[in-house]
């Protein structure tokens, strides 16, 4: 029956393995975090350094996109199994979001 939860008691080996895997993963997360901080720093510096807007804007947008991907795939585990539908819908949303922003930038003013 769907509501039953089949609990599985891990053997010690399994347990240790799971722990280790989790710890490894956590170390990865910290790295991810460091990258995010780094990207943020670059973005702020780029702007403060006062490069040409045509260069900076696409670049910081790219950095933002990378950060989001990091959040989604590492912090929010979107690469894990069981996230297929979730990512399908999230990407559909992102697509519609992109189209919306695009039209507002192009055909709202004359």
């Amino acid at each position: 029956m769907a509501h039953d939860v089949h609990t599985h008691v891990k053997s010690n080996i399994e347990f240790e393995y799971a722990r280790r895997r989790a710890a490894n993963e956590m170390r990865g997360q910290v790295t991810t975090f460091a990258i995010m901080i780094f990207l943020t720093l670059i973005a702020f510096t780029m702007v403060l350094a006062g490069f040409s807007a045509y260069l900076v804007i696409p670049f910081i947008l790219l950095l933002a996109a990378i950060q989001v991907v990091l959040q989604l795939y590492y912090f929010m585990h979107m690469s894990h199994k069981g996230h297929e539908t979730a990512s399908l819908f999230l990407y559909s949303g992102a697509l519609i979001a992109a189209i919306t922003v695009l039209t507002f930038l192009t055909i709202v003013w004359w």
Partner: protein, 621 residues
């Protein structure tokens, strides 16, 4: 715990419905409320047609007329068509996929009550100083300058009911993704489930822009913002985009479930498997996808520039292709079948030419330069009533007759059903066909009157007389419903005799836990397969009888929605009444307190025990 309703007192029944989280009862709530609003919207339509019956008529005044059309459009779309569809989805989808319940029974109830209170709030405008009068599209410049509170009622009412819709959409998505019975793969799902799925996805993505648009409108009107005030740097075109980014998918949210209902009916009463099932599924998804790429076809005359117009024109036309695929697959489903002209089938058969006629005028409008002529003329009114009435409403009426025995274990009278059909169908064509020509002859829409000197008298009169037939049809339907309820003759399982999908395999009346044992789905049209193999049970089971987990009833959804309803009055009278802000606060406190109660109090539901299940006789097979 017996599913056969014991005779309960009125109070107890009322309480039961206020607190229910059972999708079958929520379906009935949607049906009643949606039906009520359909009558309200229909009466408004009749007032429109009476006013336009003859030139220079003064049956309703200019300002009042605008309120009537606005409320007619808004009521019909948000408060009648969509909720009625939700009604059928709730009634049929969980049963079609072999689920005991929806994924979020509590949210299901919350969605309904938010819609309910939003709808009531909107309609209270009639009694509290005037209804909204800027059209259902409520274009910003007019809406911002509209005096009185009409537009505020519109924005707040739709905000509340829109929230309910979003919740309902997510609920159906998760239900369909997670709650399918073993064997019910995506490619075995009945088409109604598929269209519910895609329509729900459209809701998920289309309602947020509406939410934002409405908030901007609320802030502008009630809290001093300047989004749409061009003297302050605002821009009214933003509203048009936000509205149509929502508005166009909205029309597919309406039509897709109707397509689903028709798909079920065509294959049932042709006794034949749906022709090109996978193409149908693909077409549904494609329509949903393309539905998001075309909204600006409502804005061809806004002045977006040639390139934007050209792109959106071509994208719009593309939708004709998957829709055509559906039409031809339905035709081929009937082809070679054994067609029985029951009332639902009559509606389905009537739907094809009506919808095709409406669809092809849509493609004509998609041709931007031609739309410069057609836009905001009666041609548009004709187009969308052809697709909406000829598609959605016929679908709803078909669904009503088709699913009535599933929902109530009785059958609407077939003879009266057919009378309703013919009256409604003929009246519909009479009313709206002629309107194409009115548009071509230069009649703009949303005009409260027209002069004698313009040559539109005869066609308008014909159109108005047609509406009388539709009203007569609806009245026969109401009589039919009342008589059926009064007679209350149970019909049992699979009353149409040709049921193919799981919902018809379930005993009647449907037990409150739906399936005693979760079924094992062995193919498309499972029930048909089981019947062909002579299985009297109607289904193969995936599990032995065991305890069933059920959710508890709850009054909290009702209270949460009530809080929003109360709070909306506060927002509405902000800056005008001293009590406004306190009332807004009070409403929000009610809502949040109810929400906190919900999260602090564990609600684990209860179990129906195996022994009780075994003892229960349940419905008849």
């Amino acid at each position: 715990m017996s599913s056969i309703a014991q005779k309960k007192g009125f109070g107890a029944t009322l309480w039961d419905y206020l607190t229910t989280v059972d999708h079958k009862k929520i379906a009935i709530l949607y049906l009643i409320t949606g039906g009520f609003f359909f009558i309200v919207g229909g009466i408004e339509a009749m007032l429109i047609r009476i006013q336009l019956l003859k030139p220079d008529n003064d049956f309703v005044a200019a300002g009042l007329y605008n309120e009537i059309i606005t409320m007619h459009g808004t009521t019909m779309i948000f408060l009648a068509a969509m909720p009625l569809l939700f009604g059928f989805m709730n009634a049929a989808v969980p049963l079609q996929i072999g689920a005991r319940d929806v994924a979020f029974p509590f949210l299901n109830s919350l969605g309904f009550w938010m819609f309910f209170f939003g709808g009531i709030f909107l309609n209270l405008s009639w009694f509290l100083g005037g209804a909204p009068d800027a059209g259902w599209t409520s274009y910003a410049s007019l809406a911002i300058s509209s005096p009185g509170h009409g537009i505020d009622f519109y924005a707040l009412g739709l905000q509340i009911s829109g929230g309910g819709t979003l919740i309902a959409g997510i609920n159906f998505l998760v239900t369909i993704i997670n709650m399918r019975a073993p064997g019910m793969t995506y490619m075995r799902m009945p088409l109604f489930t598929w269209t519910t799925f895609v329509a729900s996805a459209l809701i998920l993505f289309a309602f947020p822009p509406l939410t934002v648009g409405l908030f901007l409108m609320i802030f502008d009107r009630m809290f001093g913002a300047n989004f749409f005030d061009h003297t302050m740097g605002g821009n009214t075109i933003i509203w048009e985009h936000l509205f149509w980014i929502f508005g166009h998918p909205e029309v597919y949210i309406l039509i897709l479930p109707a397509f689903g209902i028709f798909s079920e009916i065509f294959s049932t009463f042709s006794r034949k498997r749906l022709f090109g099932y996978s193409a149908m599924v693909f077409a549904t998804v494609l329509i949903g996808f393309l539905g998001f790429m075309v909204w600006a076809h409502h804005m061809f005359t806004t002045g977006m520039g040639a390139t934007a117009n050209a792109i959106f024109a071509v994208a719009t036309m593309a939708i004709a292709v998957p829709t055509g695929v559906k039409i031809f697959n339905w035709l081929l489903t009937m082809w070679g079948g054994s067609i029985k002209f029951t009332t639902p089938m009559l509606y389905a058969v009537g739907f094809i030419p009506s919808f095709v006629a409406g669809g092809v005028t849509g493609v004509m409008q998609a041709s931007a330069p031609l739309d410069y002529q057609l836009h905001d003329s009666y041609f548009i009114v004709a187009h969308f009533h052809y697709v909406i009435v000829g598609g959605v409403v016929l679908g709803l009426l078909a669904g009503l007759h088709y699913y009535w025995p599933l929902m109530f274990n009785t059958m609407l009278n077939e003879a009266m059903g057919k009378i309703t059909f013919w009256l409604f169908f003929l009246g519909f064509h009479l009313t709206f066909f002629i309107q194409h020509f009115l548009g071509l002859l230069g009649m703009p829409r949303r005009v409260f009157t027209y002069g004698e000197d313009q040559g539109w008298d005869l066609f308008n009169a014909i159109s108005s007389y047609g509406a009388i037939f539709m009203a007569a049809g609806v009245i026969v339907l109401v009589v039919n419903i009342v008589m059926t309820i009064a007679k209350n003759v149970p019909v049992g399982r699979d009353p149409w005799g040709d049921g193919r999908t799981l919902e018809w395999a379930i005993p009647q009346p449907v037990p409150f836990y739906n399936f005693k044992q979760i079924p094992l789905v062995r193919g498309l049209d499972t029930y048909w397969i089981e019947k062909q193999e002579g299985n009297v049970e109607g289904m193969t089971y995936a599990e032995p009888i065991g305890d069933i987990h059920m959710p508890n009833n709850s009054i909290i959804p009702f209270i949460m929605s009530l809080g929003l309803f109360v709070g909306a009055f506060g927002a509405l009278y902000n800056g005008e009444q001293p009590w406004a802000i306190p009332v807004l606060g009070l409403g929000l406190i009610i809502t949040f307190a109810a929400m906190a109660t919900r999260s602090l109090k564990d609600d684990l539901g209860y179990h129906i025990h195996k022994e009780d299940l075994l003892n229960e006789k349940g419905g008849k097979h």
